[in-house]
């Protein structure tokens, strides 16, 4: 009565649709979990979901490529005293994020000695920002040097290119 091949094909299709939908649900759920960051535009190719949600809750998710691996290791090991805040994560999350940061870190050699903990203290960052006039830094709309988004209008999308820089008035 029932054509078995046709039956299993249809069943298979149904299951595939189901799986696809569960995947969509999962992805949209992960997005909803992302505390304060809902951009859907450009993002660097490799992004870790935990890094994206945890590291963008209080500040722009600073890209891994802006610090070398030993800096990231030091930052992740000291999250309980993270620039004046206890930003501790559960061990599994911390481990995953550390691995992601190490893998995508800058390979530039930096000054010997202690690892740099602030991107703004790297030679690279200072050189990139040497032409920024003092008045911009004094603008109350620029909260601090950690406030990339104040001028890099697409920083939340991981895009720090100069064409998207707009100094607030």
């Amino acid at each position: 009565m029932i054509n078995t091949r046709k039956f299993s094909r249809t069943l298979g299709l149904g299951v595939m649709v189901m799986v696809a939908m569960m995947y969509v649900a999962h992805v949209s759920n992960a997005r909803a979990d992302d505390d304060d960051d809902e951009d859907s535009g450009h993002r660097p190719a490799i992004v870790d979901a935990k890094w994206a949600s945890e590291c963008s809750a209080c500040h722009v998710a600073y890209p891994a490529r802006y610090l070398p691996a030993d800096s990231w290791r030091a930052i992740m090991a000291g999250l309980d005293k993270h620039f004046g805040s206890n930003a501790s994560l559960d061990p599994a999350t911390a481990k995953e994020i550390t691995a992601y940061l190490e893998k995508n870190a800058s390979t530039r050699r930096h000054q010997s000695g202690k690892p740099v903990l602030r991107i703004t203290e790297t030679r690279w960052w200072r050189s990139e920002h040497r032409e920024v006039a003092a008045r911009h830094w004094k603008n109350p709309k620029v909260k601090s040097r950690a406030d990339c988004q104040a001028c890099h209008t697409t920083a939340d999308r991981g895009d720090f290119s100069e064409r998207h820089v707009k100094f607030p008035r």
């Binding site: 029932i2 046709k6 039956f7 249809t10 069943l11 299709l13 149904g14 299951v15 649709v17 189901m18 696809a20 939908m21 569960m22 969509v24 649900a25 999962h26 949209s28 759920n29 909803a32 979990d33 505390d35 304060d36 963008s56 809750a57 209080c58 500040h59 722009v60 620039f83 004046g84 805040s85 206890n86 930003a87 709309k141 620029v142 909260k143 601090s144 950690a146 406030d147 988004q149 104040a150």
Partner: protein, 138 residues
């Protein structure tokens, strides 16, 4: 028959979509959990929106309060005091995502109470605050 099986697959798919995107908890569930916790303290007499409002605005040791980042109006968008990071509205009326995930609520109370007060908040304080936030309209 075959069509029925296929439709069944579709229906299951849609259901999983709906269930997965629904919030785990409601602000009411979270308030009830806080109430159960606070009730264990002798002399507990319920939560107060008025107390929650002053708690929200009172500055702690570091000259910080909840309102430093979440602004005086919890229904408005806030900004991180140091990094400028935009913070979505705190009040559930203005942001339905708030207080819908117990794990997240616990995590952020722990973090932010430590930043503002150098200690964890009590269930009484959390309950007062949530009671206040639930009175805020858009």
């Amino acid at each position: 028959m075959l069509r029925a099986i296929f439709s069944f697959g579709l229906v299951i798919g849609f259901c999983s979509l709906a269930v997965n995107t629904a919030y785990a908890e409601t602000p009411g569930d979270i308030l009830a959990a806080l109430k159960a916790e606070a009730s264990a303290t002798p002399g507990f007499q319920g939560f107060s929106a008025e107390r929650g409002k002053s708690f929200y605005r009172n500055k702690g040791k570091h000259d910080l309060s909840c309102s430093s980042c979440h602004t005086d109006n919890p229904a408005a968008e806030g900004k991180h005091a140091e990094t400028g990071k935009l913070i979505k509205p705190f009040a559930p009326a203005a942001n339905p995502e708030r207080f819908t995930d117990m794990k997240k609520v616990k995590k952020w109370f722990r973090r932010n109470c430590n930043d503002v007060l150098d200690r964890e908040c009590t269930a009484q304080e959390k309950g007062d605050l949530l009671t206040y936030l639930l009175t805020v309209t858009k």
